[in-house]
């Protein structure tokens, strides 16, 4: 998913994220109310599979957690869980 995107996912079901990168290493992290809940690295050429059950509904923030260049701090997106 791209930076700034927002998707909706189901609560209490296992969701599998297939995480990779088209350029450099990034970090895919899930925050809920400012608390880091889960993360995985996004590495070019490899797919890291993160299986996660969202136990709380609401909005989750996705931040990049691996330094990836000048736009690193701006890499963010949201997930809505219902």
């Amino acid at each position: 998913m791209s930076a700034g995107a927002e998707i909706t996912l189901p609560k209490n079901e296992i969701v599998e994220f297939n995480v990779s990168s088209l350029d450099v290493n990034h970090g895919f992290s899930l925050y809920k109310d400012g608390v880091l809940r889960a993360q995985v690295q996004a590495m070019p050429g490899y797919v890291n599979r993160l299986r996660w059950r969202f136990s709380d509904s609401g909005t989750y923030d996705i931040l990049c957690l691996e330094y990836c260049g000048v736009a690193h701090a701006a890499m963010a997106a949201k997930i809505k869980v219902e």
Binding site: Y31, Q39, Q41, M43, Y46, N48, Y67, H72
Partner: protein, 476 residues
């Protein structure tokens, strides 16, 4: 001890202190940017971050090596050319490095995680200059390490230098802990620099191939962390080797001897530290699972032999001693204690379940700044302080000791505390500004600026006092 050894060690120490001050200013500017107190912009922030990390890793590595060279020359005739070549390469490497970061705006971070140097560049020449800088530094440091290893092996066999005969209970030939720890650390240094050589060769091949081939990111990541993690640990052990030599004498106690458990612990450290780096790749689920388990087990065991034996030795040395506390002995004693605190932080982060929510948060700079800023740096400052007392015209004033020590400890503890709190609040590391999700980062950065300034003031006073007491010896 001849005059050349003293003068050249003094030259190293003055250079190190000046570069350290510059690197602190870079780091302080980064925290001020995060605290919204200045505005340097994201590109300059990451240029500063790259320069800060590489200068800090480099300067405290050479500080450890300069200490080893000086103490080793009390045992043997150590060839001068290793240290001279390393000094020249360090100066040249730093100049090219700063050109690559500040002029070409390369901003790949201190461990230049592949393939970031090919992306995080301002000018096309940036990556090549950056690789050339690392090559110059690597060549100089590798030669220096090999010269010191060969020097030790002129007197002892490898088995003796590793103190295996002491582990088996045989007393002769006597190998001091300083020789053992130096030898073990130099082997580790050589191993990680060789990994860096392979890494750089792979980078050069891809650079010269101009897009017709690319390297495997997972292999490059393993090489990067084997190099980076091992280097920062070994440079700390270099400082500890000197501590083992000097600290008992400061307490008026007999010199340490290599008992079977000291020999065993440092041999174990030699092996364990080489495999602990896997904990940097816990969040890379594509990494073979066995490596993840090895990483966790080795990370748990890594600090046990060296840290436990050293902490026990230092505490028993101080207990019922006639220690006249000087700046050097204070820095050694508290450096070991802070190293232990940083070690606990590191072990917590190296537990896979914890790493899931701590990796790449400010918990990481919290623990490594604890055992660097308050541990490794203290070891080298202690050596420099002892050295200044040895060769300087006059001793440091007691008031000056209190001022410098208080500023370094209060400034250092407050500075790392802001990082620990940041880790506990899930604040990411390595960002020029904080997303609203982690807005606590701003106030913690403001806190860090205050304490980092105290530490900087302490270091300015330390450097001024050191230079005033010793600089005349350079030209005498």
């Amino acid at each position: 001890m001849n005059t050349f050894d003293k003068k050249f060690t003094l030259l190293w120490l003055i250079t190190i202190l000046v570069v350290f001050l510059v690197a602190i200013v870079f780091g302080l500017t980064m925290r001020m940017e995060q605290a919204d107190m200045v505005e340097v912009g994201p590109l300059n922030f990451y240029v500063l971050m790259t320069s800060h990390g590489l200068l800090m890793a480099g300067v405290w590595f050479v500080a450890g090596m300069a200490g080893i060279q000086y103490i080793l020359s009390r045992y043997f005739t150590v060839p001068r050319w290793g240290s001279i070549v390393a000094y020249g390469c360090t100066l040249a490497g730093v100049v090219v490095l700063l050109i690559s970061t500040f002029l070409t705006k390369l901003h790949a971070g201190w461990y230049f995680l592949y393939p970031l140097p090919f992306y995080a560049k301002g000018m096309e020449s940036g990556p090549l200059l950056f690789l050339i800088a690392l090559t110059i530094l690597g060549v100089g440091w590798l030669l220096w390490s090999l010269v010191l290893i060969v020097t030790i092996l002129r007197k002892y066999t490898i088995v003796q230098a590793l103190a295996w005969h002491h582990i088996l209970g045989r007393p002769d030939p006597a190998v001091s802990p300083f020789i053992l720890i130096s030898f073990v650390s130099l082997i580790g240094v050589t191993a990680c620099i060789l990994a860096a050589v392979v890494l750089l060769i792979l980078y050069y091949i891809e650079f010269l191939a101009s897009g017709s081939m690319s390297n495997d990111p997972l292999l490059m990541k393993n090489l990067t962390f084997f190099f980076g993690h091992t280097l920062v640990n070994e440079m700390l052990y270099l400082g500890l080797a000197v501590l083992y030599e000097l600290f008992p004498k400061m307490a008026g106690k007999p010199a340490y001897k290599t008992s079977w458990y000291v020999g065993l612990s440092w041999n174990a450290t030699l092996l364990i530290v080489l495999f602990a780096y896997f904990h940097h790749l816990y969040m890379d689920f594509a990494q073979p699972v066995a490596f993840q388990f090895v990483g966790q087990i080795m990370s748990w065991f890594a600090p046990l032999p060296a840290a436990c034996v050293t902490i026990f030795s230092v505490l028993t040395t101080v207990y019922r001693s006639n220690m006249k506390w000087s700046l050097a002995s204070l820095l050694y004693f508290f450096g070991v204690m802070f190293w232990a605190v940083g070690g606990v932080g590191a072990i917590l982060d190296a537990v896979i379940a914890n790493n899931f929510v701590l990796h790449n948060t400010q918990w990481v700079p919290a623990h490594f700044h604890t055992y660097n800023l308050l541990g490794n740096v203290f070891f080298s400052l202690a050596f420099a302080s002892w050295f200044a007392d040895e060769i300087g015209n006059k001793k440091i004033a007691p008031t000056m000791v209190k001022i410098i020590f208080s500023l370094l400890v209060i400034g250092g503890v407050g500075f790392v505390l802001a990082f620990y709190l940041g880790g506990a609040f899930s604040v990411p590391r390595r960002v020029d500004m904080y997303n609203e999700v982690v807005s606590e980062g701003v106030s913690l950065a403001q806190m860090a600026v205050v304490f980092a300034t105290l530490y900087l003031v302490g270091m300015v006073i330390y450097t001024f006092d050191f230079t005033k007491r010793c600089a005349g010896q350079l030209f005498s």
